[in-house]
């Protein structure tokens, strides 16, 4: 891990502990799910829609 010396600080120990936890097989954290492709399309679709409506309204107004 961090550095190659013999001294392992409190932070290195805590980092290793946390990495062991999150990389364990079967570690269940809903945040670590991938966002779906359709949700990303929806996200950018909403953004484009808002921008286009604004441009149309500005041009029309």
């Amino acid at each position: 891990m961090k550095g190659s010396g013999t001294y392992e600080s409190e932070i290195d120990k805590e980092l290793n502990r946390r990495l062991d936890v999150v990389l364990r097989d079967g570690y269940d954290d809903p945040a670590r799910a991938d966002i779906s492709r359709w949700e990303l399309v929806l996200w950018f679709g909403a953004a484009v829609l808002i921008a286009v409506i604004t441009v149309v309204m500005k041009s029309g107004g």
Binding site: E10, A31, R32
Partner: protein
């Protein structure tokens, strides 16, 4: 008190760069939205709206605010929120996967120091001007907008922000539960006062404060200012979203909390500036609401500014810890944060140069953050397909995935440089004038972001695909 000692060093997720565990994730859709509202409806939103009013009137200004914010926020959110949320990793540690271990250090020194110190100085000077308006009104102190009294008051904001920062993101979360909704009430109050005095048709007919000759250039400069502001969320959003509970909670609150809240705040700033003929929010409140209401509003704005300074500095301090490695990790949180406020104190001695010219500073930051957003979004979403090696993010070993060449991914920096060149070829951030007629149609930030992302994609595919360097999938 072993627990508190641990919490005030880097050996925790909140005050350090370590991965967040499931039980430490505090932000769902609702709380993340409130945190974002708290930072988006700061007085910087009023100041941005006021600056927009320098170039365009009400209708064009509202359109520029919406277009600039939706483009920037949608790209930046994908760029920094998804990866930091999924892996629970601090944003600048995560950025090692793009720029390399040493590359991130360059990034922190160049971008973040300028950005964090610049914005915090603007906000603390605004605090100073707001409170001096109050003391001028109630105690006849006679402090001018660029007097030393403004600087002393700015230092009060810095000290209070430091104490709050010491308490960490939990303190900010609880403060924002009050300040966030309070600022929305404030917005409604300003609108009521504004339309109590003047009709919509009068405000809509008000001319821009200091426009250029060409209406098309004025509109695109207004869009560009708002693009710059929205791309400027890059260093902040990832370190908040790393505490979110789901990917959905990491992404969508940016639409509600950052985009919508910023649009509301900036539009109010735009209308108030056009109505009162002054871009500076601290000069609006007493003429608008009278002494009692005006002073109350200014005091609340001062408090709101402090939450924004804390949010900026939280991200900056984590980045410094990440960049400083073992030495910074072992420095107590209170001392580290206090040390980083020193340059803000120095800059707050120059209110006229910093505050009154803030849009120049804003345009320069876009030259960096627009390509940065393009590169980081393309790297995580398209090139890595949402996968990083968590263990190697923290590794300094030369055989790690993110060691690149001497700790620097030069490909990402070439892409940043090309993006910056594209920006400057289109727009002069010093004079806010177009370098190229194309600017009036495509802005400078958007092509800069797209070109940087494209260059990063092409060069990475050409030189790094399937190789051990960089850990990109085949």
């Amino acid at each position: 008190m072993a627990m508190s000692e641990t919490n005030f060093t880097g050996a925790s997720s909140e005050y350090g760069t370590l991965p967040v565990l499931k039980e430490e994730r505090q932000l769902g859709l609702f709380d993340h939205s409130l945190v974002n509202i708290g930072i988006a409806v700061a007085t910087w939103a009023f100041l941005l709206g006021g600056t927009t009013a320098m170039f365009v009137g009400a209708w064009d200004g509202i359109a520029a605010i919406i277009i600039g914010n939706i483009i920037g926020v949608s790209i930046v959110s994908v760029s920094v929120c998804l990866g930091t949320s999924k892996y629970g990793v601090e944003q600048f540690t995560f950025a090692r996967s793009v720029f390399g271990r040493v590359g991130v250090l360059l990034l922190v020194c160049i971008f973040l120091a300028i950005y964090g110190v610049g914005w915090s100085s603007v906000l603390s000077i605004m605090f100073g001007r707001a409170i001096s308006e109050v003391t001028n009104s109630t105690m006849a102190t006679g402090i001018g907008p660029n007097d030393i009294g403004v600087t002393w008051l700015a230092m009060v904001a810095i000290v209070v922000s430091w104490v709050l920062l010491w308490k960490g993101p939990t303190a900010v979360k609880w403060l924002n539960r009050i300040v966030g909704p309070g600022k929305l009430i404030l917005c409604a109050g300003i609108l009521l006062l504004l339309f109590g005095e003047k009709s919509w048709s009068t405000i809509a007919a008000a001319p821009a404060l200091q426009p250029f000759d060409d209406p098309k250039t004025n509109f695109m400069v207004a869009v560009e200012i708002n693009l710059a502001a929205s791309f400027g969320w890059w260093p902040i959003l990832g370190n908040i979203s790393r505490f979110t509970k789901t990917p959905r909670a990491a992404l969508w609150p940016n639409l509600v909390g950052i985009f919508a809240a910023a649009v509301v705040g900036e539009t109010i700033g735009l209308l108030a500036a056009l109505s009162l003929g002054n871009f500076d929010p601290t000069a609006w409140m007493i003429p608008l609401g009278g002494a009692v209401i005006g002073c109350s509003v200014l005091l609340f704005i001062g408090l709101a500014n402090i939450t924004a300074i804390v949010s900026i500095f939280y991200g900056m301090c984590l980045a410094m810890r990440q960049a400083g490695g073992r030495y910074f990790e072992n420095i107590p949180w209170g001392i580290l944060t206090g040390a980083l406020f020193i340059p803000v104190i120095v800059v707050s001695f120059f209110p006229a140069q910093v505050y009154d010219k803030f849009f120049v500073f804003l345009a320069w930051t876009a030259l960096g953050f627009a390509p940065l957003s393009g590169v980081t979004a393309v790297d995580y979403i398209l090139l890595r397909r949402g996968r990083v090696n968590t263990r190697d993010l923290y590794s300094d070993a030369p055989e790690g995935d993110y060691a690149f060449w001497g700790g620097v991914n030069w490909i990402a920096f070439v892409a940043l440089f090309v993006g910056g060149i594209v920006y400057y070829a289109l727009f002069n951030p010093m004079s806010l004038t177009a370098h190229n007629a194309l600017f009036n149609w495509i802005s400078a930030s958007v092509p800069s972001c797209l070109v940087a992302g494209l260059v990063h994609y092409v060069l990475t595919k050409r030189f790094l695909r399937g190789s051990r360097t960089g850990g990109y999938p085949a």
